[in-house]
């Protein structure tokens, strides 16, 4: 009954001119703390829409989305912002770093938004995650001086620095070559093992899917039936997750 993320009969419609696009149709999904979950599906199946709802940057048309125990449909913009800041880390397909800030400052940014930590504490946190993603010697460079893989590592560091309950990544490897992509996924998995951070990411790359503990398949805005859709790896998490 717990679960860090719970979706109950979630519907998301997009009005598109005179027609309505049903991006998600009555989706039910529970993700437990510490899971390393892939949302897999073809283009246009609703992966991004699903992650946006979990990430609290969008709200459902119907149904209920619970993130870290809070029902997002009932929250104000201010409360959603605060939930994103404190409970969620984002990793984007095209990295989305702040170009005028250097690597260290990019990583520190969410901590500054949070406030509360002293300069030394922030410093220690930033050093810690920058080390973890192996970018210590690039810390004072600007994002545009780095390769795609390195930029995505910065994005991972930025997502982790606040120690969020959930890290969301929408096709984090789509803009990377397959070797680099694999390395990025391995890095995320390593962190997941070490810190038990919940990772939810989307992909349509079969190679990436193979590295996940749990694969949730989505097609046309619907999750495929349990058993058929779910393939579980050797993850420690368990239980019935999908109610389709």
């Amino acid at each position: 009954m717990s679960g860090i993320v719970r979706l109950m009969d979630v519907v998301k419609d997009y009005p598109l001119g005179k027609v309505t696009v049903h991006a998600l149709r009555k989706v039910n999904l529970t993700i437990d703390k510490g899971e390393f979950t892939v949302i897999a599906g073809p283009s246009g199946s609703g992966k991004t829409t699903l992650l946006n709802l979990i990430g609290c940057i969008d709200v459902a048309t119907a149904g209920e989305v619970l993130v870290d125990g809070k029902s997002t449909g009932k929250l104000t913009d201010k409360q959603l912002t605060s939930l994103r800041l404190n409970s969620i880390g984002f990793i984007f397909q095209s990295f989305n770093l702040i170009n005028v800030l250097d690597i260290r400052q990019n990583v520190e940014f969410p901590l500054l938004l949070q406030g509360g930590l002293s300069k030394a504490e922030r410093q220690a946190r930033v050093d810690d995650v920058v080390d973890k993603v192996g970018l210590r010697q690039f810390a004072s460079q600007r994002p545009n001086e780095l390769s795609g893989g390195q930029r995505q590592r910065v994005a991972i560091a930025r997502a982790l620095v606040t120690r969020p309950a959930i890290v969301l990544a929408d096709e984090p490897t789509a803009n990377l070559d397959s070797t680099t992509g694999t390395q990025i996924i391995d890095l995320m998995k390593e962190i997941n093992h070490q810190d038990h951070t919940t990772f939810i990411f989307s992909t349509h790359d079969e190679k990436v899917m193979k590295r996940a503990d749990r694969v949730v398949r989505i097609l046309d805005g619907m999750l495929e039936a349990a058993g058929l859709s779910e393939s579980r790896g050797p993850s420690e998490s368990g239980g019935e997750q999908v109610h389709a």
């Binding site: 946006n52 990430g55 940057i57 969008d58 913009d77 201010k78 912002t81 605060s82 994103r84 800041l85 404190n86 969620i88 984002f90 984007f92 989305n96 702040i98 170009n99 005028v100 800030l101 400052q105 520190e108 940014f109 969410p110 500054l112 938004l113 949070q114 930025r158």
Partner: protein, 447 residues
Amino acid sequence: MGVLVSIALRNLVQSPGRTSLLALAIGLVTTFLVLLMSLSLGINENLVNSATTMSAGHVNVAGFWKPTTGTAFPIVTGVGEVRKVVEASTPGLDYIVERHRGWGKIVSETGAIQSGLSGLVAADEGRFFDRLLLAPEAEYKEGGSEQIFGDARRLSEDDTIVLFSGQAKRLGVSVGDVVTIKTETMSGASNTADVTVVAIARDLGLLSSFSVFVPKSVVLDLYQLNEDTTGALWVYLDDIEESEATMTVVRGALLDAGFQLRDHESNPFFFKFEAVQGEDWTGQKLDVTWWQDEVSFLTWVLTAFDTLSWFLTLILVVIIAVGIMNAMWNAVRERTREVGTMRAIGMSQRRVLILFLLESLFLGLGATVIGAALGAAIALGVDAARIPVPSDAVRTILLSNELHLAVHPQSLLVAILSLTLFTSLSALWPAIRASRLQPVKALTHTE
């Protein structure tokens, strides 16, 4: 939040073309505004200076004397008593001088002019001789030298006169020449006095066409008046700002002492003459004013100039505001995805708003400070160069022969703050739009 400041500054640096273009425009408008304000202040200083030297004290106690209901003379009788009351009642009094007033024709061998007469006691004068600048010979004599002749302090001698250069030119006289003053006494008889020109002063615009300076004795003789009369007491204070308030105090004291006063009327003394002549009373009434009353016919110049200045500036500011708004729209559009990212990471709407406002604030502050500094430097330079004003009409308006610009820290501050505020306000709308962007839409925004 330091990081917002640093992002805002770096974003400005990031687009040097746009930033420098806007900064140039904002800076130049600031320079322009500072120059206009300096000129306005300069005119104001000229006005205050010449008005309180040539036309009035800070507070004036003049009088109308009516021997019959149909006549009036610019005379204060029993001046000793009046002076005592004024001396006793004026807070922050510096000194008092007397001006004996008359009106007559001044005649030379080749010309004649009408002018007011100012009779003074040279020994009693304070600032007068310091402020009265003498004209080089070339200013009043064809082919004259740049040398300055004469000495205004010789007004201490009997039968002397100080003219302004414009008057000397029309009369065709130089220092050392003799002119004749013709007036009518109270009884209607004509009187004349021959006086020697001891100095010729530089023109002070409009104010200098109406009066000449002679020793008190010349006026008393011409009008056959006794020693206990004068035209006006000019009261100088330690602080000119107190003039108007002090006038009220002096009026009260004179009323309490039993003197008759005319109601306060913000006009120069001689403008009231006709009205007084028509009034149905005889005897003595005092007329107490402060310096602005005596030059009220000149203040329109300043008002008009200031209105025009602000109007011009406003037009420029509106043009600039449109430019800034446009540039900010572009910045918001270009950085929409960045805004989406920041919002997704957990930046609040308020901080997005602040971020964009900071950007225009820094732009505005930087540009206006530089612009104001430039304006101040130009103003000081022009002032120091003592550039002569070529046209008589402009001289009349500027109340000076030379371009005078005054730079006050307050006016720089006003220019900087008002234009920075305007700059920031022009960015407000785009900034609000940026802050209201929905994170999802902003993130998926494509150029």
